[in-house]
Symmetry: C2
Subunit: 107 residues, 2 copies
Amino acid sequence: MGASKTHIFSPTHNELAHAAKVLAHPARVAILEYISKQDACICNDLVDVIGLAQPTISQHLNEIKKIGLLKGTFEGKNLCYCINQERWEELQHSFHQFFSNINRNCC
Amino acid sequence: MGASKTHIFSPTHNELAHAAKVLAHPARVAILEYISKQDACICNDLVDVIGLAQPTISQHLNEIKKIGLLKGTFEGKNLCYCINQERWEELQHSFHQFFSNINRNCC
DNA sequence: AATTAATATTGCAATATTACGATAAAGATA
DNA sequence: TATCTTTATCGTAATATTGCAATATTAATT
């Protein structure tokens, strides 16, 4: 009746789906890209850059955080978000695996 | 009020998000993997293999089809789904680009 | 033409997501 | 301490997704 039956799927499939879900909103893609493009860590011009309200940005950041893609540290006044490189490469690998493991000699 | 504001994002971000959405459900990940692993094209044991009702599988297949990842052809009695290799590689490339374009020298 | 098997569509209920105004919390500054 | 700035949380409304029973469609077989 409307809830995903995650229990019937393998951990691998669930994990990839879970990661994909984070990338499944353009705001989160844009946020990740923006954060990564900053050499310095001073963030949250995000509200202006992305064009969504501050609570909405905060929620999206939280989704990204929940999957471990952000490291947050305080530096002076502002909270600073950075890409968690280790986790990033983990997900990169998962997607790479998924796309590579496909058998194409069909039809 | 609940609807994604896709118009405020770039085509690139929207397209990646759109593709990610298709992978954002374990059933669809499992379906794609299963189809690709069949050397021959006779599909739709899917209902048994995946463990969801036939209409649900049909809907998931439709999502996958909508983004162009499936080629469907008739062969004898059964409809046959195969991975659309060209589109597959397009998406593979998009994800690869996204994951590579991230600047990691921060924090 | 009638039957069978496979797939698609419809309709509906449960749940999840998206968005934002209002408000709270935390820390810096005056 | 009062104020300002930044970020988080709450509450709520709109929309989207997930899942399946019932039903329809399609094509092959009898």
